[in-house]
Symmetry: C3
Subunit: 468 residues, 3 copies
């Protein structure tokens, strides 16, 4: 009786935890929306805001109908690796509602990542097609690098070929990625890269009207730095659902310890990356110009890259390592952003360096810094540990780092392989890019019934009449 009653209460507490964390992850959509809207030019604001709402709305319907079943449906520890799930379509077959809710919010993030990169020049049709394709199908593939779970009793993707929870995990280990640096962020970031390349840059960004490369790329946006900050803060806040919530349960002291470590590491990763992005960019600039300036974009996108980078290892590294991961993440962002510009890849919100490179760095860093104690607590096994720790104990065991590198290659390869032909198909059928004139005027005007902002002037005439 007592035992059953306690188990019942535990069910309630853990459900509460997932509903809470899911709500915070949903809040990340607010963050994405504000960040995106702020980062672009004012003439396309309605367009990207609508896309963000559709990320949630379409994401919910897509994840309800197909996505969840493909991603998690019918997982079965007695079976080997499977490519795709096949149960739980339309929330049938006793799907755990709270788990679906939490995962739905994750799936929405995927298309939001891409939306920013390709803003200001893509067709509505392209958006609709890719977001369905990405959430419905691509996500599942990359999910084989499991979003994972916190304790040996609770896991969710037992049939992934890289999963640490498979009956016979690859190389006896499986990849470690608590909250999804790889299957969410890197997956979205690679998709953004593929689409940005095939789509091409915005008019006038790297080339003049005659197609001659500009000496300096023309900055386009942000139209509101305030909105960018609002978005960045909103994402950071939501991340406290994204990462700690990925422990799925909180109904014991040990689970609580893991979740609070996750919260602390998330904080330190974000903070270190914001500082490293900001100060590094200031120093680089000061070397060139002699003037100390402070680049808000470097701070904000550094911060976001730190959040992405700590997402994989937040449960298995020590706080000092989270700090180091964040510092490097800031550099990864700066280097990646500069590289995109050099390669003339036009990323309207820098999602490629933030999510793709940040995600890859996070997965690799987890293979470097995860220690035995934390791995044991969070994943129930510590046969293979972070390479720095293996090294410290005189071992040559490269298994964990190896499988993390494999995971990075897998996500990169998988998304490129399925998304490239898909984007070319969109291009060939002329569904990818808007008309040049539309691009000049702005999609808000051509497709959304007018501008996002309408500040009318009050005439001095009426004012003087009033004061009479």
């Amino acid at each position: 009786g007592t035992e059953a009653a306690r188990a019942d209460l535990i069910l309630g507490v853990d459900t509460f935890y997932l509903i809470y964390a899911g709500a915070l992850v949903f809040f990340m959509q607010v963050g994405f929306a504000m960040l995106l809207a702020g980062s672009i030019r004012s003439k396309n604001v309605k367009n990207v805001l609508l896309w963000n709402l559709l990320d949630s709305a379409g994401g919910a319907v897509g994840f309800w109908s197909l996505g969840y079943a493909f991603a998690y449906g019918g997982d079965d520890p007695s079976k080997g690796w499977t490519f795709i799930g096949n149960r739980g379509f339309f929330l049938s077959d006793d799907v755990d509602m709270e788990f679906w809710f939490f995962q739905f919010a994750f799936a929405c993030a995927l298309s939001s990542i891409v939306a920013g990169t390709i803003a200001e020049r893509s067709k509505m049709e392209a958006y609709l097609c890719y977001s369905l394709f990405l959430c419905g199908f691509v996500y599942r593939g990359s999910l084989h690098i499991p979003i994972s779970a916190v304790c040996a009793h609770s896991f969710w993707s037992v049939n992934g070929f890289l999963s640490p929870f498979a009956t016979e995990p690859l190389w006896g280990s499986g990849a470690i990625d608590l909250a999804g640096s790889a299957p969410v962020h890197m997956c979205g970031g690679v998709a953004a890269l593929v689409m940005a390349i095939i789509l091409g840059p915005r008019q006038g960004r790297f080339y003049d009207d005659d197609g001659v490369p500009l000496e300096e790329p023309k900055p386009m946006g942000p139209h509101s730095v305030t909105l960018q900050f609002l978005g960045t803060f909103g994402l950071w806040f939501g991340w406290y659902g994204f990462n700690p919530g990925s422990t799925i349960k909180i109904s014991s002291g040990e689970l609580g310890d893991v979740a609070s470590l996750v919260a602390v590491n998330t904080t330190l990763g974000a903070a270190a990356a914001a500082l490293s992005g900001l100060f590094t960019s200031t120093l680089i600039d000061a070397r060139k110009t002699g003037l100390y300036t402070w680049d808000t974009t470097a701070a904000m996108n550094g911060c976001l890259t730190g959040l992405v980078g700590i997402t994989a290892g937040c449960a298995t590294v020590e706080p000092w390592a989270a700090f180091v991961i964040g510092i490097v993440a800031g550099w990864v962002y700066l280097a990646g952003s500069a590289l995109c510009i050099r390669l003339k890849i036009d990323d309207a919100v820098d999602a490629i360096p933030v999510h793709m490179l940040g995600g890859a760095w996070g997965v690799i860093a987890t293979g470097l810094f995860s220690n035995a104690y934390r791995l044991e607590r969070a994943f129930g096994s510590s046969d293979n540990i972070g390479w720095f720790y293996e090294w410290a104990r005189g071992s040559g065991n490269f298994t964990l780092l190896g499988i993390q590198l494999l995971a990075v290659l897998f996500v990169f390869g998988w998304v490129c392989a399925v998304f490239t032909p898909f984007c070319f198909l969109l291009k060939i059928t002329n569904k990818l890019r808007i008309d040049p004139l539309e691009e000049e005027v702005g999609v808000d005007f051509s497709r959304h019934k007018g501008a996002a902002y309408n500040n009318e002037e009050i005439t001095d005439d009426s004012i003087s009449k009033l004061s009479e």
Copy 2:
């Protein structure tokens, strides 16, 4: 000992749940404020923002002093139907603090709904009077359609004449409305309708200066679509407190199941309605003009109508039904919005179609789609179930649908009956509408010490001096 200790822990967990949910419902005030401010013209922004702050501030004081006592005070299962509560004024008589906190946040929403509709032309006095009247008195009447509770052990309005928790509920059933499609949203929406009609449209909206009807109504606002989206997302986020929180408790597996179903249904209702509002409006427009455009307002207000529509039945319908309810909600919004314009009812934020019609649809849909299993779990009784299910089991039992229709009529009738004379009183005493010149200049200038936005220009002169 053990049993008592467990009960004590349960008390703590459930209190946590209500404090959490109440905070999220409070966040809806942020959403309302940004949605409202964004939807109107820039010259009245300070005015509506202040109203929104007063919704919370005045709402708190009003609900503390009178509202709670009228709404819930002295409920007693041994008594029959009562018209009004009479205990708990000023939080006396051992009121549960966490329950008060959660309910306070609900009460605030009521006046926010009205504030949007009547913006840009109402006097401050009118706002102050109606919001007190609405929260203090009207709410209680409509509360007789109970905001309800999730399990047989916890209910809160045992003396409502439509309550399923009354000792002898009406027709042996009582109306089913988990989180308040009727007593919050429809109640607010009807009040908005009454006031909008008595107040009349904004200058120049439907008539020119000589009172001749315009061929096309003149669009007024939005001044910032970004703020509208921020508000919509904020409301959606807050709704995860509003609906799941209305289960009041989460301290068992069964309660957790109900709450997570509620979260899922809330998601699907909102998502389906956003898609249905957007795509339907696109198709209608494309028929007329041949051009595919995407109306952000249809997507946002469709989404909100879906949230309102799923609020009543979120604990008692299956996810597929939540999807259907959402799809219809999108159409309800579009039809209602068009109807308001045809009838020359000027609703500055479309609160009437969203909250009144969405709320009515939600209550009715609950009478159609609630099934026996969900009703049993959430309300502890399944004698009368949704009409589609009655029909499917060959029964002619119309009780639940009947009582839901009665509830809709009751709320409509009740609010019209008490709010119409009240508004006429305001009109006769000249407290309702601002001066025409004030309306032209904007209330921000005439009553709030100047414009909401002040972007000064930096002179090129100073800039060139700096670079020297």
Copy 3:
């Protein structure tokens, strides 16, 4: 077994509570950022937004490396008063992660309070130096007035000289301040005052170019009242983590009761102060001008002063007292704001009246209104109670009120004593104030690569081309 299992679940629940509350307190950074940005002129928006991000990022790193260890490290009930903690640097020595996370969010608020006051004229170096100094060192000193804890079993600063949890608390009592009116808000507010005086007002605010005092101070900002409201609402929302979270635990009915009382009192304090600030300012203005206007700033800053004011006593006063505290807080704000202007202290966001005076009032009010029942439940002792209650029971015991007054004097004295020389040092080394020309052009242009807002116009030419 059962007992241990229950204790384990309790650990999980309480950890969840702190992670949740910490996330909400973190959200206050969003509120501070938007409030600050909205309150100033558009030419310095990027600057203050960046400061706000650094409050979190630098705050995290500072609190991780030194701040936590100084503030809480090595507390030991067997020792007497200590000046500074000495364990837990870099989260070593088994620091509770969830507690660190919650406290980190508190520490960030400190520098955000100062940032607003000194905006638009301070150097980046000044910001970086003071925020480190404040969080790392000053906070600890004022922490000796403990942020406290809710029940006798859980306390956190047993070695503070004013702590009610010391083995031998001062005068047998110790100061009562649940969530930090004194060590967070008043501390930040006094620092803001010191720095504002040493820094001097913005150019043209109180004096013309020749240094002649203006008849009327020139208003500077707000550039966006919408952002101010967004910030105010965001802060209010976050306060539901700040205050109720300060009970640290929620895993019993009694703890839940304290936390929900805190939520209710927080609500009433904020609400009453918003109303009192607004209506009082309206009445004062109407007396002077004969016109009824409604000052949004008075409502918002009144509200915030109420939140600050109720922060100390939210667990130990009755709801009616919270209402009274709020009413007075509104007046405290208005008087303080007027006084600052009369003394020509230029506070860009009125943080001095809000946080310093509001905080002082809160600490004093706790000494007036705390009753025996609430003190017993929240702090486990009621030997000394609020002065009004002592008076009512015919006692002349002035101990609690006396120690609260001492706490106010101590915080004021401590912060002035250490912060004044620090600011003079910054001034002498020319690290405090930006160049006058930079101030005229705006820091965004001179140090942050351009303006925060860039709204380009769409040419009619392109539009007409599109329609062809």
